[in-house]
């Protein structure tokens, strides 16, 4: 369904990363994973270009609203789905400007729906590439 898209998953928990990778690869995505902020900045600059970033704000080495702002500045076209626990930080203005916010509850189906929605509806560039 989501063939040809490259998704970058950033989460501090290895099992969560792997689980999400497995789920998204089953949907046909190409998946990259990053464990922390530094890893994220490194992976995001590498080819092939990333179509979507799934970002947990609570990651070591540069996290929270700061990493989000840095990505927005460097890659303004890149859609970001915030996948994190609801805290004070999740109401930060930088978070509001992300493509979507999905509370981390363990419900993968909901996350997948949002990913599909963002990739197909909100990313016309990807659509054209896909066709």
């Amino acid at each position: 369904m989501l063939d040809g898209f490259t998704v970058l998953i950033t989460d501090r928990n290895r099992h969560v990363r792997n689980f999400l990778r497995r789920e998204l690869m089953a949907e046909g995505c190409q998946v990259e994973v990053a464990a922390d902020g530094r890893d994220l900045m490194r992976k995001i600059s590498k080819a092939p270009p990333v179509d979507l970033l799934i970002l947990d704000l609570e990651i070591p080495h540069l996290g929270g609203a700061a990493v989000l702002r840095r990505i927005e500045r460097a890659y303004p076209e890149l859609p970001v789905i915030i996948h994190t626990f609801a805290t004070e930080e999740s109401s930060h203005p930088a978070v509001q400007s992300a493509a979507a916010f999905v509370e981390k509850t363990g419900n993968v189906e909901l996350l997948k729906k949002v990913i599909e929605h963002v990739l197909t509806k909100l990313n016309p560039k990807s659509l054209t590439r896909r066709s």
């Binding site: 928990n13 969560v16 689980f19 004070e88 363990g106 419900n107």
Partner: protein
Amino acid sequence: MAWKRVSLQTRILLILVALVLTTLGGGLVTMWYTYRMDNLFASVIDTAVMGLQAAEELETALVRQKGLTTYYFLDGNSDWLNQLGHLNESFNTWLKKARSSAKIDKERSILNQIESEYIHYTYARDQVIELYKVGKRKAGAERHWEVRKQFFAIQGLCDQYKEIQKEQIRQARVESRAQTRFIKGLTLVALPSVLVLGLVLAYILLNQILKPIRILSMESGGMEMDGPLPMEMTALRQRVHNLIENVDQTQSELQQSRAHLLQAEKLAMVGKLAAGVAHTIRNPLTSVNMRLFSLERSLKLSQTQREDFEVIAEEVRHIDTIVQNFLEFARPPKLKMQSISPSEVVDMALQLLRHRLESYGVQVELDRQHPLPEVKADPEQLKEVLINLLVNACEAMGEGGSIVIREEEGVAEPLGRVVVIRVKDNGPGIPKSVRDKVFQPFFSTKEEGTGLGLSIAHRIVEEHGGWLSLKSREGEGTTFTITLPCREDAVWARS
């Protein structure tokens, strides 16, 4: 000014010293002058008066000698000579007295002159008398004329002496008058200065001591005081006493609150720690949830296996709820205040819980005369409180039962105007033994409770400036009462 730097005590002392010195000095000077005047009269006037008297007597004694020699010449009677001898003696006596009272050289030289002239005169007169006695009347009469000239010269000297005495008395009088003038002048200076010093002292006493005392007692007591000074002082003493008591009380309160603060700080630290732990637990828990979700999709399980699986899933969800509740309790979200009628919040909560209430088979009765006035509140948080109370009520009553929500307006001290929402159930009620504990965190009677619901609700209402209380009787149900302050600005905004 130098005067402004001088302390009040020194000022008063200085003025007092000046006052005393002026009065004392005036008195001493007056005494001294009185003493001097006395002396003046005693010495100068007395001697002058005595001198004058001596001069008078001297002259009298002299004048009375006049003619006696002539009388003797006429009748030769020796009585005249006897009389002359007496007067001669009297003259000499007075001359001695005059000499004793003579103080200045001029007097003395005149007296010396008088004496020598008198000696010459008596000598010449005695010769005349001798001439008469021997019958040389013609020669005697000739000398007699010369003697008469001498006599007049002495009389003139006596007059001069008298004048000197009179002059002395006049001088003494002038001197005494000058001294009197000096005393008068001194009094004229001293009296006003005593008056001025007294006024300054009175001003300082009134303005810088009594007035501050009055102001102090009014400020410390806060009530009007027009009584006399002793009453003011008594009142002031009373007030200072009260102040000291207040300070003592405040100090003990401060110590208590410090102890509370310490306790609160400890609690906050423990809470932070626990919240950190809870937050960390959430991460692997979510991972577990994800895997369970995945398993559920693909597993083909037997009846017992499915039961086991479902219990695991439910317990994991339960853990997640506990952790979430705890996190909410430990890191309360900031209130997002807005003007809203609590009635709207009640409606929202009922709307949200409609299905749940139906599933419990609970009847909800809303007792509302008219919508409550707007208050400053965070609707989301307030809704959380109501949901908590309603779900608690449902769980307490089990199947069936009824809940009455009553909205009221009223007045409660110290909040003033308040809005009140009562949630009343007809469940089994809360036993007296645990009634005080239900608002404490981690206290739960429910099998699956986290023990945080009511304590979160309690805290939210307190953060709104109100309070959450409960009334319960075993077997007759429980009433939770939310009281929220009705802020005046909210009332104005509504009107």
